[in-house]
């Protein structure tokens, strides 16, 4: 198990770096992170299922200006590791899956608080850098930026460890406390989650043209799938 957590820390740290500090090449997206965490904790497909659900849900919150969206990377670390671990222990039924997705909202908010903290500490780094530059030390800019990137990376690694650990603990200790019938009470909420994701994308891309297109496509794909099922 130790090597799994070490790998989770390493990959999680890289994904968190991509989130804000470096590149923004979408390596931090829930689909990528949850699949990676699923692979690390023994079931890539289970992690991917979490990623497919979480990928779209938070898209409605844009990282614009000083606003910080919920930490969907952290939610994916938690959900991916928890789903993979649960699938190899108690089994990943629809109720457990839904419960994990809903519990990930707590992680997303904790991650947001951590993100704010890092940015406040970065403010101190920036002030110290400017004082050094005032004294004539131009190299302080490079050192300050390196400090900021390191802070983002270390925080990302710590969050990856904490959230993947929380995922494993929830799957190992919390979910088994409830029987399959009890966990099933969460399952009735599962159909709502992809619709929340679709609404999130729809609200991002809303223009005069898109409203009709969205619902027409939804109807066509729904009708096609139902017909396919009936004839199959």
């Amino acid at each position: 198990m130790t090597w799994r957590f070490l790998l989770a820390i390493l990959l999680g740290g890289l994904c968190y770096l991509d989130r804000t500090a470096a590149c923004q090449m979408m390596l931090h997206r829930p689909l990528v992170v949850a699949t990676l965490m699923g692979a690390v904790f023994g079931n890539m497909a289970a992690g991917a299922q979490v990623g497919i659900m979480l990928e779209l849900i938070y898209l409605a919150r844009l990282p614009v200006g000083a606003s910080i969206p919920p930490d969907d990377t952290g939610a994916a670390v938690f959900g991916g590791s928890a789903a993979a671990f649960a699938s190899s222990s108690i089994g990943l039924d629809a109720g457990s899956f839904t419960a994990l997705l809903l519990l990930s909202v707590i992680v997303a908010e904790v991650g947001k608080v951590a993100d704010r903290f890092v940015r406040k500490v970065n403010g101190r780094i920036a002030r110290l850098t400017m004082e050094s530059v005032d004294r004539g030390d131009v190299q302080a800019v490079e050192q300050g930026l390196l400090a900021g990137v390191t802070l983002f990376a270390v925080t990302g690694m710590v969050l990856a460890l904490v959230f993947s650990g929380a995922g494993v603990v929830v799957s190992k200790e919390l979910l088994p406390l409830f029987g399959p019938a009890s966990r099933g009470s969460f399952a009735i909420l599962l159909p709502v989650l992809p619709l929340l994701g679709a609404a999130s994308v729809y609200s991002c891309s809303r223009t005069e043209r898109t409203a009709a297109v969205f619902f027409l496509t939804m109807a066509a794909v729904f009708g096609g799938t139902v017909l396919f099922r009936l004839t199959a």
Partner: protein
């Protein structure tokens, strides 16, 4: 006064360093540290053997700066060219600040709308749909669709910026990002509609009749509409998920 030319090595360094524009993001100066860090190799070339002026130039770039990170490449490239002119005595140093402040807000708005409001949702929903076939296919599609456009626009923006502020403005007109934004929003809406349709059909209980399926579809469409209205009223996805979590827990103890 003549400024030394920008070496190929420094140009490459500036290009690579722009990927760390948000490396020390903070509430006071936002991307100021990242911008100063990125432009530093160019300043070292232009103000070689002129430490006092180099220091002034670095301070200029430590002032508040914030824009969409990918669009920062354009401003960075143009600022390098402006700094070269300032170092050669052909331009007023204040022109750089005016140029950056003038462009960062509008480019931020254009970039946010294009990258966060259109390209990312489109790539995400395409990735999730393909991930239903195979996770790695979905991840590949997400990264390819997003970065194909993202890295191309960064490179072209930086190159256009390096031609000077005039080149930057010309490229912006030519790039027609507003049209591209609308197109990608339309594609995102189509793909999101498909995603909603797939999942709404997936959860229909087996053996339901046609009117039952129609009722289920209408319920799903109404749910999407309700969430959209809630988002418009500034209710966040976290609040909706928290509400659902509470409902689930209450249902557990029922």
């Amino acid at each position: 006064m003549t400024a030394q030319a920008l070496s190929t090595r420094s140009r490459s360094a500036v290009w690579l360093r722009q990927f760390l524009l948000q490396g020390c993001w903070n509430y006071e100066g936002m991307q100021n540290m990242g911008f100063a860090y990125a432009i530093l190799p160019a300043l070292r070339d232009f103000y070689a053997n002129r430490p006092e002026e180099a220091l002034k130039a670095v301070k200029r770039h430590l002032e508040f700066f914030n824009t969409q990170p990918a669009m920062g490449a354009l401003i960075l490239g143009a600022s390098v060219r402006l700094e070269e002119r300032v170092a050669a005595g052909e331009a007023d140093p204040r022109a750089i600040g005016t140029f950056k402040v003038g462009l960062m807000g509008s480019l931020g708005a254009i970039g946010d709308s294009f990258f966060w409001g259109a390209l990312r949702p489109m790539a995400s929903v395409a990735g999730t749909l393909l991930a239903l076939l195979h996770p790695l296919l979905g991840i590949g599609a997400l990264l390819f669709i997003y970065n194909g456009v993202h890295l191309t626009l960064r490179r072209r923006g930086f190159t256009a910026g390096m031609e000077g502020p005039e080149g930057a403005v010309g490229w912006l007109k030519q790039a027609a990002l507003n049209v591209r934004t609308d197109d990608r929003k339309l594609l995102a809406a189509i793909l999101a509609g498909a995603y909603a349709g797939v999942f709404a059909a997936r959860f229909i209980p087996q053996g339901g009749s046609a009117p039952y399926a129609l009722g289920w579809f209408l319920l799903a469409a109404a749910t999407v509409h309700l969430f959209t209205v809630l988002f418009r009223k500034a209710v966040s996805p976290s609040e909706i998920l928290s509400f659902l979590l509470v409902v689930g827990v209450l249902n557990l103890w029922r």
